[in-house]
Subunit: 181 residues, 2 copies
DNA sequence: AACGTCATGTAACTGGTTACATGATTTG
DNA sequence: CAAATCATGTAACCAGTTACATGACGTT
């Protein structure tokens, strides 16, 4: 389906950027729901240039470091807009190795299971704290309450979804641990 | 990481089964968190036989249909037990194309966004209904309340997680729609 | 001068999907 | 007897990760 293609087009619609910047964007809140390594990004950028969906200008940073600033072409914008409105089927399998282990809980003894779940609970709680901190910072930067036309609305929605997802996971882990006594 | 390998070992630990049965297992609740197509399963089974983690006996179904019933070897059981206790880092990026679109909501107009969200809300609600129906059936089969030693405990935990995950997603969609007025 | 970050690329491999291909069995 | 399901396999391709490789820039 080439989703990375659209991830790149979407990022470039927001701003001109380099391949490195795109990789950096995947390290933020967006990365909770989509990401790619630079080794996948650079070849994809070359492909998109050939397809004329993006173009680049070479910029000199400092003395001689060349970097490529990519931007959307009209054709690229059109393809992005087409994809963004497209209704896709909800993907069934969101792979989660911990849930796979959970399915096989009958192969564990009670202590093992409790340790595994406690451990997961701990990791998830630490992850939640980090996400909540990012939200606090995002809200602090905002003057007015966030609404549809705020430039940070997309970022805000994705962050709140990531946070609620972790909270849901944590609650389920706690309830499951309680079920094991 | 060869997670499919462990998915297969885990399923075979529960019962002897064919490649077809394994594919069928991925269509149930387990498939919400892990799955594979038969075209990936059959070569993996062959590989696991070579590695001596599983073995098979050929069974004749009806007149002449040969099917291969796979089962765990002692070595396979040992590897499964090793994996099941192993603590892995929480995977960051759980890919979700809808959330990627959400991140780019600034590229949509309000009506477009509302339609996309309403649509997703609808799909998720239908999915939730199906999952809740499966849970109802599972609970009906149970005589005593489900607890750690119930043979269906793993199935139950995975199902409840899938249900709560959908509920969380739905709530977020509703709250997001409300934020758009 | 050393270290961390910015910046770009390729090669080899692994994981996963789509499509091709075949045939037996069961159920309506 | 037709259609759905059971059952097994391969080939080609696409997506994604790990490792290899290089070098400039900014800060301490």
């Amino acid at each position: 389906m080439r989703v990375l293609k659209f991830a790149i087009l979407g990022l470039l619609e927001q701003d001109k950027m380099t391949g490195y910047d795109i990789a950096a964007a995947f390290k933020g809140a967006l990365g909770q729901f989509w990401s790619a390594k630079h080794s996948q990004i650079y070849p994809e950028l070359k492909k998109l240039v050939v397809e004329e969906l993006i173009a680049f200008e070479t910029v000199i940073q400092g003395e001689k470091l060349e970097k490529k600033l990519y931007s959307l072409t009209a054709k690229g914008t059109a393809e992005l807009m087409d994809w963004i409105q497209r209704v896709e089927a909800v993907n069934v399998s969101n792979k989660d190795e911990f849930m796979l282990k959970t399915y096989f809980i009958a192969a564990m003894d009670k202590q093992e299971a409790q340790q595994l779940f406690s451990n997961q609970l701990n990791s998830r709680q630490r992850k939640l704290e980090k996400l909540e901190q990012i939200l606090t910072e995002l809200e602090a930067e905002q003057k007015a309450p966030i609404h549809f036309s705020s430039p940070e609305f997309g970022h805000y929605l994705v962050l709140t979804r990531a946070i609620e997802r972790e909270k849901g996971y944590i609650q389920w882990l706690e309830r499951s641990l309680a079920l094991m006594e």
